[in-house]
Every structure is written in C-alpha cells, then in structure tokens.
C-alpha cells in the first residue's frame, strides 16, 4: 500500500518536469547534491562560516556560559558549606546550653540542700534552748509550790490548834493556852 503510493508519487513527480519544460535544459542537468560545479564555493563558504562560528563560540560565547555555570556551582557549594557550618555551630550552642542548664540545676540542688541542713540545725538548737528554759522554769515552779505547801502545812497546825483551843474553851469554859494545845497535839 505504502509502496504503491510512493511509487505513484515518484512517477508523477518524475513525469511532471519532463512534460513541462522538456527541451530547455535537458540532459546536462547533474544530480544537484553531487554536482561538482559548486564544490569549491561550498567548501569555501562552509569553512568560512564554520570557523567564524568556532571562533566566536570558543572565544566569547562558550566561556561566558561556562563561567556562569561554574559561578553558580561554586555559589551552591559555598552555600552548602556555610549551611553545614551553621548547623554545626547551632549544635555546639545547644550542647553548651544544655551543659549550662545541667550545671545550674545541680548548683540549685546543692544550694537547697545546704540551706535545708542549716535551717534544720538552727531549728534543733532553738528547740534545745527552749527545752532547757522550760525545764528551768518548771523546776522553779516546783520549788515555789513545795515552799507554799510547807507554809500552808504550818498554817494548818496553827489553825487546828486554835480550833482545838476554841473547842476546849467552849466545852469546859476554861481557857487553855495555845502552847498547851500544841503540846497535847505533839
């Protein structure tokens, strides 16, 4: 199918020029891509234009593009470097901070402990002082109580003697001396 179309096309195309301008330049027309008439011209202009291109690209344009790419790559490498350096610095800073924090915590704990101990000691001392004072006061109070009691006991004897004297006087109507009563009471 495809071949048939191509063949027909070829025949049509080949037939066309013959029918149209048959005798004008028949026969002497070489196959253009192989026609040596223009070989020198083509070689010459190809070399001229190609080496012009080679020179312009090699001297001006390609170094420009290459430098731009190089610059960008350097810039990216630099940025990556500084980024990793900054990260390292940040990590160091964090480590230092954590160490300082731990130190501070330990210090605070120590301080609290010593303060508690000293307060405890002071408290114990004060309690002791208060205890001894209380004991002294209790002893003094005891002595006073004993004294008052003996005094009171002495008074009870006198009162009893007087009561006995008064009772005797009422009973026998005779007054007896206190000394006699006391003698009897023993």
């Amino acid at each position: 199918m495809l071949n048939a179309i191509m063949l027909t096309g070829l025949r049509l195309a080949a037939a066309a020029p013959k029918g149209d301008h048959g005798g004008e330049h028949a026969g002497d027309k070489a196959f253009p891509p192989f026609d040596p008439t223009y070989f020198p011209s083509q070689i010459f202009w190809l070399l001229v234009s190609f080496f012009a291109l080679y020179f312009i690209l090699g001297q001006v344009l390609l170094p420009r593009i290459g430098e731009t790419i190089e610059e960008r790559n350097n810039r990216i490498a630099d940025d990556l470097d500084s980024a990793s350096r900054m990260q390292r610095e940040a990590e160091d800073a964090e480590k230092t901070y954590e160490r300082a924090l731990a130190d501070a915590k330990a210090k605070a704990r120590n301080h609290a402990e010593t303060t508690r101990q000293s307060i405890d000691a002071e408290l114990a001392k004060e309690l002791e002082i208060a205890d001894t004072q209380a004991l002294k006061q209790a002893e003094a109070a005891d002595i006073r109580i004993r004294k008052i009691r003996t005094e009171a006991m002495a008074n009870i004897d006198n009162i009893a003697a007087e009561a006995a004297q008064a009772t005797v006087e009422t009973l026998i109507g005779k007054k007896i001396t206190l000394a006699a009563v006391k003698k009897v009471m023993g």
Partner: protein
C-alpha cells in the same frame, strides 16, 4: 508551472546570489552559502540573547546552559575529561549541523547538509583533527590504533590490522554519507508526499482529488515531526561519533 515546483530534486539546486571568482575557482556566494551564514548568525544571536549570566537562569538561559552541559557530558562520557579540550570544536560542530538541519525544515529554505560535499568537508575536518592531534600528541604511538593489545599476533597481522585500517578509512565516508543521506532522503520524501497531495487535486479536481490527497497529506503530517527528530538525532550522532574518534586520538591503545 506547479509541476516544476513538484520536482523533489529541484529543492537541492544551487543558485548563485553573488558572483565571486578567485583564480580558477568559482567561490560565488550561493543560496547554500547564505543558509550557512544564516545558521551562524542564528546560533550567535541565540547564544548572545540567552546568556545573561543570571544566577537563577531564565528559560532561554536554561536552554543555552542545557545545550552546553549536554555537549560537555557527551564528550566526558565518550572521550573522557581530557576530551574537553575539544569542547568548542564539538559544540560548534553539533550546533552548526543542528541549526543547518532545522533551518532546512522551514519551507523553501535550502538545507546545506543535504549536499554530500558539505557533510564530507565536515567529516574531513573531524578526521583531519583526529589524525593531526593523534600524531602530535602520541607520535608513532598513534599507530597503536591499528594494533590492539590482547590479540594473537598472527591474527592481528592477518585480520585485525586490515580491518582496523579499512574501518578508519571508511570513517569520513560513513560519517558524511549518514548525515547527507538522512537529510536528503527526508526532504525528498516530504516533498514527494506533499507534491503528491497537490497533484491529486490538480489532476482530479477538488472533489475526488481532495479525498485522494488525504493519505499523502497525512503522510506529510506524520513525516514532519519525524524529520525534526532526524534533524536532531543526526546532529547528535555526528557529534557523538566525533567524540568517539577524538577519544582514539587521545587514547590510541584501546
């Protein structure tokens, strides 16, 4: 009149634009020369306009830088890092052929690479560079190219050396014919199918002719992107083979 335009070969004809004769050589400025100059001007304009040296590249600058990296990587992978000394040459070759091929895709434009002498001159430039640089750098060591190591000596003398010599001599021919044949055949084919569609209409009138023209027109439509691909691939192949041959000049002992 229309039939003359339908001849698939006439698009390759060369016309003198400016007459120029030096000695017995006819160096006239022709439509072929014009297209070479147009290609060079287009390439320079493109690279000047798109290399703004911005840190963050725009679209045009990206394309220029991608082309740069593309060719640089091609050289690095096939000729090694020391092949980069040929970077301007390979880049110029690649971009010149690419632009010549692509400009030829514009209707009524002449395709410089569809002439065997142009591709052959380019191929001889490459081979000339390979031989000159190879001899300059390696001296007689360059002949190691034809004397591969690790092969029995009898086999080498009888078989390998003749093969290597023949393959080396056929390099410029294969390099030039490959590019030329691809461009030439592609343009003939395009012209043929497009011309066939036109002659269908002129021969059969609009009603049945337009129906008959659908198939050749569709073929033209399908072939056009293919030809753009071929235009790129052939430029790439030419540059890649240049790198491979230059690698031989740099490191002749395989």
């Amino acid at each position: 009149m229309i039939a003359a335009g339908l001849d698939p070969i006439s698009q390759f004809e060369i016309h003198k634009l400016i007459e120029l004769k030096i000695g017995k050589f006819d160096l006239s400025f022709t439509n072929s020369s014009l297209m070479m100059v147009v290609a060079v001007v287009c390439i320079c304009a493109w690279l000047v306009l798109s290399s703004k040296r911005a840190l963050i590249p725009g679209r045009a600058q990206s394309i220029a830088e991608l082309s740069y990296e593309f060719v640089a990587n091609m050289i690095r992978s096939s000729a090694g890092t020391d092949g980069l000394r040929f970077f301007p040459f390979v880049f110029s070759l690649f971009i010149f052929i690419l632009f010549a091929n692509l400009l030829g895709m514009i209707p009524f434009f002449f395709t410089t690479t569809s002439h065997i002498i142009v591709t052959f001159t380019l191929a001889m430039l490459v081979i000339g560079l390979v031989v000159l640089y190879g001899v300059w750098k390696n001296g007689f060591g360059f002949l190691k190219l034809f004397w591969p190591s690790g092969v029995p000596i009898i086999l080498k003398v009888v078989l390998i050396v003749p093969i290597e010599i023949i393959s080396f001599i056929s390099r410029p021919i294969s390099l030039s014919v490959r590019l030329w044949a691809n461009m030439f055949a592609g343009h003939v084919l395009l012209k043929l199918f497009a011309g066939f569609a036109i002659s269908m209409v002129t021969a059969l009138g609009f009603f049945p002719g337009a129906l008959g023209a659908i198939v050749p027109y569709a073929m033209t439509l399908a072939l056009t992107p293919l030809e753009f691909l071929v235009a790129f691939v052939q430029a790439y192949v030419f540059a890649l083979l240049t790198c491979v041959y230059l690698s031989d000049a740099l490191h002749p002992g395989h």
